[in-house]
């Protein structure tokens, strides 16, 4: 169905953006995490429809799954309550002094991005993106043959991350007893 293939990617992209907006604006942290996970799931589906199943699978398992679980665990470990600044601001958790500059920076970024985007699409003509080649290279072979250093660095960063989490969360008996 060519119509569905044409409609699905923009629909999934807009759905991911709307869910991200809901995650940013949600007052409750748990609802924010749920919206974030939904946004990641839409993004993973978008990757699948764009012909990138490898990235889609990793986004679905790590982006929507692991990171959401990490966020939920951290919310539970830190008490699960909503932030004090949220109650002070009486709204959606904005810092009163930083809300306006942040909106200005985000709008300026969006404007610059839109101008660059418009220029890029205009210079590339109206042809759009060509269809995928019949025998595309495998991401696995690209990772292991052309980007071996990246794979090794990923392993090192993951190991450093695990050691960092264990180091930060380990109980410090000596200091607590001395205090």
């Amino acid at each position: 169905m060519p119509e569905l293939q044409a409609i699905l990617p923009p629909f999934l992209g807009i759905a991911a953006a709307i869910c991200a907006l809901a995650a940013v604006l949600a007052r409750n942290l748990l609802r924010a995490v749920a919206a974030f996970a939904l946004s990641s799931a839409f993004l993973a589906a978008l990757f699948f429809t764009l012909g990138a199943p490898f990235a889609g699978a990793v986004e679905l398992t790590v982006g929507a799954g692991l990171v959401s679980v990490l966020l939920l665990v951290s919310i539970v470990l830190s008490g699960g309550g909503e932030e004090a600044a949220h109650r002070r601001a009486g709204g959606v958790g904005m810092q009163p002094g930083k809300a306006l500059p942040a909106i200005v920076v985000a709008t300026a970024f969006a404007a610059v991005f839109a101008i660059v985007l418009f220029a890029a699409v205009r210079s590339s003509g109206k042809g759009g993106i060509p269809p995928l080649p019949a025998n595309p290279a495998s991401p696995g072979s690209v990772l292991w043959e052309r980007r071996t250093l990246e794979v090794l660095a990923q392993g090192a960063v993951l190991l450093a991350g695990v050691m960092g989490v264990l180091s930060v969360l380990r109980p410090r008996h000596g200091r607590e007893e001395g205090a």
């Binding site: 923009p10 992209g13 807009i14 991911a16 953006a17 991200a20 907006l21 995650a23 924010a32 974030f36 946004s39 990641s40 993004l43 990757f47 764009l50 012909g51 990138a52 490898f54 990235a55 990793v58 986004e59 982006g63 990171v67 990490l70 966020l71 951290s74 830190s78 932030e83 004090a84 600044a85 958790g93 904005m94 810092q95 500059p101 942040a102 985000a106 970024f109 969006a110 991005f113 699409v121 590339s124 003509g125 109206k126 759009g128 993106i129 995928l132 290279a137 690209v142 052309r146 980007r147 990246e150 990923q154 960063v157 991350g161 695990v162 960092g164 989490v165 930060v168 969360l169 200091r175």
Partner: protein
């Protein structure tokens, strides 16, 4: 894929990035700041995939996106562990209220 579809997808990527930037700059809660950081990465990943599709080298784009997602997860884990520790020791997740006294411990 038509030029309009590409434009819509890149606009969505821009929205994701801008939302992440906004969340990172304007929010006080440390968990929400990590969430904003993740949204930033998602916008960048979408640009990589659309760009890779456009250039015809989707495999390299996927490899870069996988690296990006793995690094994001690692950064999120460490940042959230720091947030939990800040809540335990200082009693708050408010970034502006984090005032560590000399010698550490609760203020």
């Amino acid at each position: 894929m038509s030029g309009t579809t590409v434009l819509v997808l890149l606009a969505c990527a821009g929205v994701l990035f801008a939302l992440g930037l906004w969340c990172l700059a304007a929010r006080a809660n440390l968990v929400r700041m990590v969430l904003g950081l993740e949204l930033l990465g998602k916008g960048a990943a979408l640009v990589f995939i659309v760009g890779g599709r456009g250039s015809g080298d989707l495999a390299t784009a996927q490899a870069v996106v996988v690296t990006l997602i793995v690094l994001e997860a690692s950064i999120a884990a460490v940042a959230l562990a720091l947030a939990v520790q800040a809540k335990r020791r200082l009693g708050t997740l408010d970034a502006d209220s984090l005032d560590v006294p000399e010698g550490g411990g609760a203020p």
